[in-house]
Symmetry: C2
């Protein structure tokens, strides 16, 4: 069983409008609500790949109820181990403009997590990690009230239990978390530049390894992934750039890395799977889901090449 | 007891953002949720004026629950006689731009009301109207599924029970409703022009009377009200234009008309109260609420002048 942690779950809402005009009034033709937050996306992809997966974190208020109901409806393979919180789970709103194809995004702040809620989460986390988990993914931002060193604590506890742990976050939460030596981090180029001060992907990826992560897998957008690991460095690229919506592509890459790790595959095979799932997510007609046909088609033809040096 | 009907209640949500930019991502600093829909606003003002008031209509889904909870918290004087519906109550979202002071509005569609839900509403309506109601207000848009002639039916049933009925809506719902001869309608100048084809307020107000309403009270924005009634025509204006947010000013005017009717006041006194409440709502620091001090100050100095002719 793989555990995904989403401390700051979200209800992802999409409004379709004919044309988005600032300071005007808009009749919304279509409202779509989906469970969101990186760790829940990772869990959904893992379940679609046939892995046993448990999702934990917090869900509160009406949006939290909608997240749990949506998870049960759209991802029945994911075991819901979310904990209640008194504060309301945030909504993220994407206003999709039919005229331009662009979206305008509004992100609510997360719920304030109280000390007893955080203590209840730690108890749940230890129980999940201690019950034979194959891997743990720690994903996304920290809601208000959760200590900024939270991920460092969760990384240490997973490692003490002998469970491989992947950290996918940014900013101060990543900076603090990396010091606790997670098995993997998966920054994008912005997060990597924030962490290391460098915009040159290969040196920055290797620098991030020296800061504590055992392996660093940097996502390069349509160009694929760059990995620095104890077994060497690789660059993995899709056979061609696929057009589409990049929402959730990074979460699919995390699911690819974790599922391949759980299956005992080596680094080139893990990276090939992660790149194929990312590409199949970009190419899917539904934002954040992967297209199984594209996945099958791409995964045999991802190029994985070794980078010289350490 | 006064009854207000809000078939299409709403959860009014306000997002505060530092600066609204189309196609950008925004961190929302502040989320405010309030029960909304014209009839609920009217009920809240009536309760604040000390009248017994019952609010009915539909509330469904998480937003419907939030509407009912908000009503209990912010308007404890309003008796909640809303009926459940399976579809979700709509949200209206106002994105308030701190840089420009302007707002961008997004209005979700209302819930689809089923035939059994509509039948249950009619039963509740008849019971409320038949239990000694002093007046009924029918307010706002019709949600999908409710017959377009709904207000005509509700007007006829109120009049058959001998209860004065005010209709405050627009478009086809107003056109159909007016034919059933409501005691009052309160169009704004846009709704009046849609109904009559004329933008000249006095002739259009009198024309609307000839289409079936016993009295027509047209809101002229900051200039006050224009009324054509069986007792004659009046123009009512505040002593000075008050600056502020016009949200809810029309609903406060409706509450003023109904409360004064229930107290047996004559037309000039009804209009003076409606204008003073409107002005006090525009001038309030909280959108949609009226400022009691401004109300007390203005209500003695509203000018009500008779318009010659019929």
């Amino acid at each position: 069983m793989i555990v995904t942690v989403t401390l700051n779950t979200a209800l992802d809402v999409t409004y379709r409008v004919p044309r988005m005009l600032p300071h005007a009034s808009h009749r919304v033709s279509d409202v779509i609500e989906r469970p969101g937050g990186k760790g829940l996306n990772v869990a959904r992809v893992l379940a679609a790949l046939g892995h046993a997966v448990t999702a934990t974190g917090f869900a509160g208020g009406p949006a939290g109820e909608a997240v749990r109901a949506g998870l049960a409806a759209h991802a029945p393979g994911v075991l819901d181990a979310l904990l209640p919180c008194a504060g309301p789970t945030r909504r993220t709103l994407a206003v999709a403009d039919a005229a331009s194809g662009d979206t305008t995004q509004f992100n609510e702040p997360g719920p304030l997590i109280t000390a007893p809620e955080w203590a209840a989460f730690l108890e749940r986390y230890d129980a999940l990690v201690g019950s034979g988990a194959q891997a743990v993914a720690l994903c996304g931002s920290l809601p208000p009230g959760v200590p900024v060193g939270a991920y460092a604590l969760l990384v240490r506890r997973a490692r003490a239990a002998g469970v491989p742990v992947l950290l996918d976050t940014g900013g101060e939460a990543l900076r603090r978390g990396i010091a606790a030596r997670p098995d993997m981090i998966k920054p994008n180029s912005t997060e990597l530049a924030e962490l290391t001060g460098s915009r040159d992907p290969l040196p920055a990826t290797r620098d991030a390894r020296r800061r504590g992560a055992h392996a660093v897998i940097t996502s390069l957008g349509p160009a694929g992934l760059l990995a620095a690991t104890p077994q060497g460095s690789w660059r993995a690229a899709p056979p061609r750039a696929l057009s589409g919506n990049p929402t959730g592509a990074g979460d699919s890459a995390v699911a690819g890395l974790l599922s391949a790790l759980a299956e005992g595959l080596d680094w080139p095979a893990r990276l090939a799977r992660a790149v194929a799932l990312s590409a199949a997510t970009v190419h899917s007609p539904v934002a954040g889901e992967f297209d199984p046909r594209t996945y099958e088609e791409v995964r045999g033809s991802v190029s994985v090449t070794r980078e010289p040096g350490q």
